[in-house]
Symmetry: D2
Subunit: 340 residues, 4 copies
Amino acid sequence: MLKIGIFGATGYTGAELVRILVRHSRIKISYLSSNQHVGKRFSDVFPAYSNILDIPCSEITTNVDIDVAFTALPHQEAYKVVKPLLDAGIKVIDLSADFRLKDYERYRSWYGEHPYFSLTEQAVYGLPELFRNQIKETKLVANPGCYPTSAILALYPLLKESVINNETIFIDSKSGVTGAGRGLSLKTHFCEVYGGFKAYNVTKHRHQPEIEEVLSSSGKNVTVLFTPHLLPIKRGILTTTYSKMKELVSEEDIFNIYRAYYGDEKFVRLFKDELPTIESVVGSNYCDIGFKIDIRTKTLVTISVIDNLTKGASGQAVQNMNIMCGFPEEEALFLPPIFP
Amino acid sequence: MLKIGIFGATGYTGAELVRILVRHSRIKISYLSSNQHVGKRFSDVFPAYSNILDIPCSEITTNVDIDVAFTALPHQEAYKVVKPLLDAGIKVIDLSADFRLKDYERYRSWYGEHPYFSLTEQAVYGLPELFRNQIKETKLVANPGCYPTSAILALYPLLKESVINNETIFIDSKSGVTGAGRGLSLKTHFCEVYGGFKAYNVTKHRHQPEIEEVLSSSGKNVTVLFTPHLLPIKRGILTTTYSKMKELVSEEDIFNIYRAYYGDEKFVRLFKDELPTIESVVGSNYCDIGFKIDIRTKTLVTISVIDNLTKGASGQAVQNMNIMCGFPEEEALFLPPIFP
Amino acid sequence: MLKIGIFGATGYTGAELVRILVRHSRIKISYLSSNQHVGKRFSDVFPAYSNILDIPCSEITTNVDIDVAFTALPHQEAYKVVKPLLDAGIKVIDLSADFRLKDYERYRSWYGEHPYFSLTEQAVYGLPELFRNQIKETKLVANPGCYPTSAILALYPLLKESVINNETIFIDSKSGVTGAGRGLSLKTHFCEVYGGFKAYNVTKHRHQPEIEEVLSSSGKNVTVLFTPHLLPIKRGILTTTYSKMKELVSEEDIFNIYRAYYGDEKFVRLFKDELPTIESVVGSNYCDIGFKIDIRTKTLVTISVIDNLTKGASGQAVQNMNIMCGFPEEEALFLPPIFP
Amino acid sequence: MLKIGIFGATGYTGAELVRILVRHSRIKISYLSSNQHVGKRFSDVFPAYSNILDIPCSEITTNVDIDVAFTALPHQEAYKVVKPLLDAGIKVIDLSADFRLKDYERYRSWYGEHPYFSLTEQAVYGLPELFRNQIKETKLVANPGCYPTSAILALYPLLKESVINNETIFIDSKSGVTGAGRGLSLKTHFCEVYGGFKAYNVTKHRHQPEIEEVLSSSGKNVTVLFTPHLLPIKRGILTTTYSKMKELVSEEDIFNIYRAYYGDEKFVRLFKDELPTIESVVGSNYCDIGFKIDIRTKTLVTISVIDNLTKGASGQAVQNMNIMCGFPEEEALFLPPIFP
């Protein structure tokens, strides 16, 4: 049994890691950090987890006896912990943005200074469906952002196979409120959200450079315009993308391309005539992908959905751990969606 | 006091007409039709309206003593009633799609045959902010669709002033469930909607030709790709549009164009730095419009919001009646949003 | 035109006062206080009110030129303002709990010290359906709590007419989240509320003594057990009460008692066979009341519903102002519910 | 591997059985009936289950090769199937109400005639925490109703230990909409439910006799008044009960009684100072129980919560199957709640 530590255990992605990891047969959660709740039991912070995980939360320290660390801390906090953990020989899956970008100037302009940026050289972007082989070999996974997961899985094969234009892809995403975390804010106050809907950070969301950098690894220099919106629900992202096709091909052709990339994947489900919906992935680690061609405008529309806390964060993090540790990739991740 | 009839009074747009008209000082609701609820009082069908409107619902008949008719019937049903009403000298505001399109082939391919299509010649598209003068003169208003209202108000000035390209405008809309009406369907069953989100009718929604035809009246031949989504809320539409700018101008310039068109309008509110949100228009007749320029991709992003039942249907219908009848345009329509 | 001031204008009851008062034909809002937002326009704090109320918020001062004050401040803050306002000859409708209880020990044990408690002698409990005549004469109205409004209107006639036992009435209430105000708290964080439901302050909610004191003014010494719950919606209270009947009478008899008390009331609607629902009063100033008799257990079950921000707070406050100032009681309060 | 059949697989309890059973290591789902969807794959009816359960739905037939049957059919339909299944030696867990009541007159007056009522003699009420030993021995389990599960688990120990009076226990329950099933109805139409709340079937809900009969098996002749309400959420029941205490005992004493009954139970969690909430059990098989004593009125208030589809239906059904078949009781039921 590997010993697992979760840094930042009492945020929502921390709780979701717990929800998944308590079912894992080859690991044991042996350390939880939470600056806000030192000394409290995890189940005191989240009564939902009573009788499930009752161990106490500790202060942040990297002087712990663990084999694998999940760092679910804010960016600019994460790297402070990741460095000593790696130095101590501990495998790290970092859920922050600190090791996702490869270009320092880009990181700095969106997030700030980063004294350990050189570590990104060994970091692998943790999207198993695209980078599984590198994940197997690394000790540091940069777990993808939630929006990027939904957008990249839908677009990467289309770019790689030169189906769509790489200039100005429009990405219109809609996310549930858990994506904003557990910190208090008027923007996530119940009465300001329920029954409403809004766009935010239009033209300037931090996931835009992340999406562009990873999509550009397809070999094309990709430019996207990314617009996030806040759905009045807890979990789930639906991403609609619009790209001009290089030339008109059939929907059958597109489906075959997706199948070539994801046909064997356990956590990607392809939709042919129907379109995927958020309600069909809540609580699961699936990314469901569908699409339509608009012949008149020669546009390919893709629709992809994930649970932002699972495939968009903690589920994918566990998937990465399974790959890094040589466990079966599905271990603890067979999570049928909660429907209804 | 003018006498008003509502055809199809027990659907959601019918109920919204009642909510608004009972506050109108110059009219009296004297006839309600409802095939489903003949003989029942309106307040038996909608207990919310107890003590507010307790008159009974009748069968559909055009042999009624009224001055103005609101026809809130399904398309292909509406025209059957509109014809005899006009013949009887009654002013008609039709909330269906039957008189919105000017091109018969387009109508037929999206909706079916239409024996009275020639009436569309006298019909005016009821968007007062753009066609007020014609509305004043007509006896038949084709009340706009909900999605088109939100999209056209945002895009028309930009097209007319040649700010944006007329080819392939992407319109990504999100609507509350009242837009689907009161008819039962698994798609609008509570447990299939709550906590979820989905796209529907992608590339083939009937509001696409309506949007194109009206926008093309700006003088440009406009092509749009329209994608509607279903929000898990009752009321409200938020429409995000993406258009390539002909050349980069400042956000100040864009704001001034909007101000030139809508500065004096009572029911359009312009946002400069902030972006509009659905929660700020629920229950009101406002269309709020905001925008951002993405310099990198030379794209203009607009965000416009309405309450689909009010400015998107019944509120706009009353606004049209006020104009047709020479009443103050705001009469009964000063409806501050319900927030929170 | 009377000049109105709102103290604590940027909380939810403040905003609801604005929503209602902007439609009032005999007053003008001329002062808004908000410690948090001094200098900001009301519509900057609540974009929903853009173009509706754009005057700035000021610091709290009682040195203002107004005729009537609404004090929508926290208890223990309100009395500090009410005293000088009264001294200056200004009529006051206080939405806090500071002047609702007549017994000082009771006030002190639930809320704390109160240096101006003697003012409660002139304060009238602002439930117009029961205390209209006193409200006409007073300069200080203690506006009722939201839960008490729903419970007292349902129970008072039954107690006064000796239909039910005065010992141990069970009051099981369910309220939307706006009742908790606009202050940030994990308890009202969207993701902690949506899709959930909970009881709170069981056996120890501050509205229990208020309900008991007012109901006991019926002449019986009433004891209640009050249990509030938090509904995952924004607006509305539904209160279910259980009382043992002194002797079995018919539902017709009960209905007639209610009719004798409320038959002429504009803001109470009585339901005979059907039961009232929250969705039928949202946005309105109605209290809807229904009931059932359980013969087996000789119990009378009442169900009453209000919008907690309207009849449960700001609507009732305006109703009180109308009575105090000799305006028509319905002025600005004909607010058809938003349904759907 | 036992072979399992689900009758009525495409209702919500059917889908929930699938969600749970696909994780069960000792069984295989080999038959699904659905009159509405014969020939369709289960995952066509519920896209959420794509790649999870893709076998087709069949017509109802009892001529099937299965070892255990779950009958998730409407009452009065279920008994038609249960009889031949039992005759064929198949173990049956019936989720309908057809075998829950032991008194024929009571059954007839609430549900109608029942030609196979004599089978109820061998039926065991499937509440494992109270009747585990009988469940082990039977071939027919009458799976409890959702409301009764929440009420009985909270009240049974208190009655058995003579803590509370058995006359007139008030049970005020609030349930999510999945309890009403997947059938279409205006009452469960999204726009009629969202943002609202209502009581229904007051004094005459079918679960009242069920609760009374099972509680009376404690040895006391119990009378309850049961009031259900409809919460605008998908899953979860919170039940608040009010009972007069025979004599005042401490909260510590009450807690110890509960601990004596449920201390070793895997699916009951006891709360001491805090009160349980719906959001902490959604998706899980837990029943969480808490309580408060109101000394003034000598009343014991209990709060118990379950997920109505899991512990209130399909989870409990699987728990019963595990007991009947000698499997570990927790098999497939370690379902951490989805929180947030």
